[in-house]
């Protein structure tokens, strides 16, 4: 666990600290058999939202945990941590992936874009503005992942990548609600804001066309 000195003491910090202690207490069970209690570290760099970061982290650190716990970019959310919910979606070299299912060390030199890099409260990305306009959320927890995914979906359609519901594999895929729903199926919203999410994406797609 890297120092969390940049955080004010909060409920979250206390919880993280408690988890770390529990992990250390459990270590003799053989998790670090190689060098008694020493997790393997690795040095690498990530370019996140245009800024280069040098990191030295436990090899087991997921890209998601590197972003949240070490770079303190907490916009990207941890939902299921198993690639099933899409809350952790970020853009790596322009492509959307689940940041929970990849090791940070495997992204040495990659360009990562998170929700913080898409827009700011003062200068919203068009997709962020459309989610606000169409009320594309309720609790908001899945929203950063939904927005990162939605931005990539429009690029994927533009690039001619077909989907499960594309009728003609050899034609340019259409931009309609059926396509958007299928392409967004990796992002779960437990509040059920799906119809407004489709409206928001359709709005942005229309203004781009």
């Amino acid at each position: 666990m890297q120092s969390s000195k940049d955080f004010d003491l909060s409920r979250r910090t206390v919880l993280v600290g408690a988890t770390a202690s529990a992990a250390i207490a459990a270590a003799p069970a053989g998790a670090h058999a190689k060098q008694a209690g020493e997790p393997a570290l690795s040095k690498f760099s990530l370019k996140v939202n245009g800024t280069a970061h040098q990191l030295e982290l436990d090899l087991r650190t997921s890209l998601l945990d590197a972003l949240r716990e070490h770079l303190h970019l907490t916009g990207t959310k941890k939902g299921c941590d198993h690639g099933q919910c899409g809350a952790c979606t970020v853009l790596v070299n322009g492509r959307r992936i689940n940041s929970c299912l990849t090791l940070a060390v495997m992204h040495d030199g990659d360009e990562i874009k998170t929700i913080e890099g898409l827009g700011t409260p003062d200068r919203l990305h068009p997709m962020q503005a459309a989610f606000v306009k169409h009320d594309g959320y309720q609790c908001g927890y899945c929203t950063p992942g939904q927005i990162c995914s939605a931005v990539a979906v429009l690029d994927e359609i533009k690039a001619g990548i077909p989907s499960h519901v594309t009728a003609d594999l050899n034609a340019q895929p259409q931009l309609n609600a059926t396509e958007l729903r299928e392409r967004m199926s990796g992002n779960i919203c437990r509040c059920g804001a799906y119809s407004n999410i489709v409206d928001a994406i359709t709005d942005v797609a229309g203004s781009q066309a």
């Binding site: 998790a31 670090h32 058999a33 190689k34 997790p39 393997a40 690795s42 436990d58 090899l59 087991r60 997921s62 941590d81 198993h82 690639g83 899409g86 979606t89 492509r95 959307r96 992936i97 689940n98 299912l101 990849t102 090791l103 060390v105 495997m106 995914s149 990539a152 979906v153 994927e156 690039a159 001619g160 990548i161 077909p162 989907s163 499960h164 594309t166 594999l169 050899n170 729903r181 299928e182 392409r183 967004m184 199926s185 990796g186 992002n187």
Partner: protein, 316 residues
């Protein structure tokens, strides 16, 4: 997650050699299945060999008119390749029926072939599972078995193989190209690549220790109407209850493989010759030795009806 060491492989042969000499080593490419299983400590490699830097991410034409798909080609890129869409539509369709956009962007061709079953008892480390812990028993037999296999099962395991892509590759007669730790290469027909569970369900393929998949080769296009139909519990982002990959020619002949019914993509040569006689005749051959549970017996009828829909669509 258990601790591990990590290296980036420089060449396919080096990767295979490193995997053979390092006890507990595993290759990692997309990682979308392996890391999921490592978090749950179902997979506990002590060393990871990252193969992402190997130049195995191309799709190239072969001298005899087929396609050679590099092991690292991502599922999205394979599904979207113009040659695949035109000449091997069943493969594009199968890929697009699987996983989510995020996962397809990361998952590789070889990793898709090697993904592990989604049997809930394999995932639940509190339950016995011969695949996860050989000799511990099978909790799926007598358990909740709605998703499980109906053909090719054993007393040790009734898990299914979860891949859609592999079902399409089976119907396309794909071969798996590999490099072994001594640098020798070989090609394995997909039919010989996957094993049935038998007494050793933890051994899923015929790959040897350290052997690395470098590519999957498709023979030259066979034309025909190519269809992949997947039936699942929700319309998207779910594993198959039953899936059908079919290639049907104008003269009514064709080939069929099924997913969601066995420990590997399911194909029976004798069943293909029944295609002109319809879905019931094909399914009777394909699932002749079906051994169902009370909960998955519906898959036999579902398979027949799914195939009937596919054959009707192929007729146009």
């Amino acid at each position: 997650m258990k601790s591990f060491t990590y290296e980036r492989a420089q060449s396919p042969a080096d990767a295979a050699a490193a995997a053979a000499r390092t006890e507990g080593a595993k290759f990692i490419a997309g990682g979308t299945n392996l890391l999921d299983l490592m978090k749950l400590e179902i997979e506990t490699p002590t060393h990871l060999i990252d193969v992402n830097a190997l130049a195995l991410d191309k799709i190239e034409a072969t001298p005899d008119g087929g396609l050679r798909i590099g092991a690292l080609v991502r599922n999205t890129d394979l599904a979207a390749d113009a040659r695949v869409r035109r000449d091997y539509a069943v493969l594009s369709r199968a890929l697009l029926a699987g996983a989510s956009g995020q996962l397809r962007n990361k998952a590789t061709t070889a990793g898709n072939l090697l993904q592990r079953t989604r049997c809930p008892y394999f995932y639940d480390t509190n339950q016995p599972c011969n695949k996860r812990l050989p000799g511990s028993g099978c909790a799926a037999i007598g358990g909740f078995s709605r998703q499980h296999a109906i053909v090719g099962t054993s007393k040790a395991c009734i898990a299914t193989h979860p891949s859609d892509m592999a079902v399409a590759m089976r119907v396309l007669d794909a071969t798996v190209d590999t490099v072994q730790p001594d640098g020798k290469t070989r090609s394995i027909a997909l039919d010989d690549f996957y094993r049935l569970p038998g007494e050793t369900p933890h051994i899923e393929t015929t790959l040897t220790k350290g052997e690395l998949i470098t590519a999957v080769t498709l023979p030259k296009p066979v034309g025909g109407t190519q269809i992949y139909r997947k039936v699942r519990d929700r319309a998207s982002y779910a594993f198959a209850l039953v899936s059908v990959a079919a290639i049907v020619q104008r003269d009514g002949s064709g080939r069929v493989a099924m997913g969601g019914v066995a420990h590997r993509p399911w194909h029976v040569a004798a069943a293909d010759s029944e295609i002109p006689r319809g879905a019931r005749a094909v399914t009777a051959r394909l699932l002749a030795d079906a051994a169902t549970t009370h909960e998955n017996a519906f898959k036999v009828k579902l398979a027949e009806r799914t195939l009937a829909a596919v054959l009707a669509k192929a007729k146009g």
